[in-house]
């Protein structure tokens, strides 16, 4: 399920709220905890001129310049995760062992262009 934070109306690249529920994907029978987690995702434009807040790469800055000159030929840079954090999942395996596993890059903390 996805839903936006109500007060944020700008269409600039930033993390948006996304809660992933393991029961929605039918994994609740073997995942003990968490029941779900706030994974988030990146969405929004990377417009010209890119500001510092948009965590832009040099390449993205140049791409926006080229895009402003030739919107048909060159797309705007993409809005992508630039900082992710891990989560741990507690689950039962097929041999009924209890497993605690660490997974990297599961939560979007920051987005950038």
């Amino acid at each position: 399920s996805t839903y936006y934070v109500p007060r944020i109306t700008s269409n600039v690249c930033k993390p948006r709220r996304l809660y992933i529920s393991f029961s929605d994907v039918g994994w609740e029978n073997w995942i003990i905890a968490p029941q779900g987690y706030l994974a988030n995702y990146c969405l929004g434009e990377c417009p010209f001129p890119l500001t510092e807040e948009l965590n832009s790469t040099n390449h993205a800055i140049l791409q926006t310049v080229v895009h402003s000159l030739d919107p048909e030929g060159t797309p705007q840079p993409c809005c992508v995760p630039v900082r992710l954090s891990p989560i741990s999942i507690l689950y039962y395996d097929n041999d009924d062992n209890v497993v605690l596993r660490h997974y990297e890059d599961m939560v979007v903390d920051e987005c950038g262009c």
Binding site: P34, I87, L90, D93, N97, R101, E104
Partner: protein
């Protein structure tokens, strides 16, 4: 890709072959709950500096790893025909480590033996008891007498005071057990030397629980952070 193929890909990325289907849902060991809760503090700021630097490091055991499994004991009590005059208990301990994938590196294995509070509080502190742990090296055949050729002593400890639980490092033994043919389990003996049949021996069978904590490292799931160019 259809939904099922996407799910298979996702599970593979998570180090799993398919959606899991456990048969019995055993209680989660308290230590594992604590470890999970410690790792699940909310917000991006939860990742303290140490964890960011060492994402595949298990602080609690001070070893590398990103997977912690608790294997329940599948061994049976050994009921000898001969009266075990000095033994309160003789039990085989067996842990099926087949869940470990080939590319996983086992970095720690810790055996925990727990007694119920009732039993260890009832035991007399003045009478030491002895706990012995052997590695089974050969299947004991029916009618085979003696244990000298079928087991190898791992440790022996005397205790004046009983404890709620005992913890032993079995990392080296567990590494050998990754070859199924070499995994013949352990033999646990608890004895009370001065008393042939002490009164606090009775009922110990029902109060004993054992499990094996195993930490392993799946290198494919542990990327080193990329440096910004």
């Amino acid at each position: 890709l259809d939904v099922q193929s996407q799910e298979t890909l996702l599970l593979k990325a998570l180090g799993l072959k398919a959606r899991l289907s456990p048969k019995t849902l055993a209680p989660v060991p308290p230590l594992l709950w604590k470890m999970f809760q410690r790792r699940s503090k909310p917000g991006p700021a939860h990742a303290d500096a140490k964890e960011v630097q060492r994402p595949c490091w298990v602080e609690e055991f001070q070893v590398p790893g990103n997977i912690i499994r608790v294997f329940p004991d599948q061994g049976h009590f050994i009921h000898s025909r001969e009266p075990q005059s000095l033994l309160c208990l003789q039990k085989r301990l067996y842990f099926n480590l087949s869940a470990l994938e080939e590319d996983e590196m086992l970095t720690m294995a810790q055996l925990e033996i727990r007694f119920s509070q009732n039993w260890y509080q009832a035991a007399s502190p003045a009478r030491p008891f002895e706990l012995s742990l052997y590695k089974a090296t050969q299947m004991a055949l029916l009618g085979m007498s003696g244990h000298t050729h079928s087991r190898q002593m791992l440790l022996e400890q005397s205790f004046v005071h009983l404890h709620k639980s005992f913890v032993f490092d079995l990392t080296q033994v567990a590494k050998e057990w990754r070859i199924p043919a070499r995994n013949l389990g352990l033999i646990l003996e608890i004895g009370v030397p001065p008393l042939p049949e002490g009164e606090f021996c009775s009922g110990i069978d029902s109060f004993l629980e054992a499990s094996l904590f195993v930490v392993s490292l799946a290198p494919s799931q542990c990327k080193t952070p990329r440096k910004r160019r």
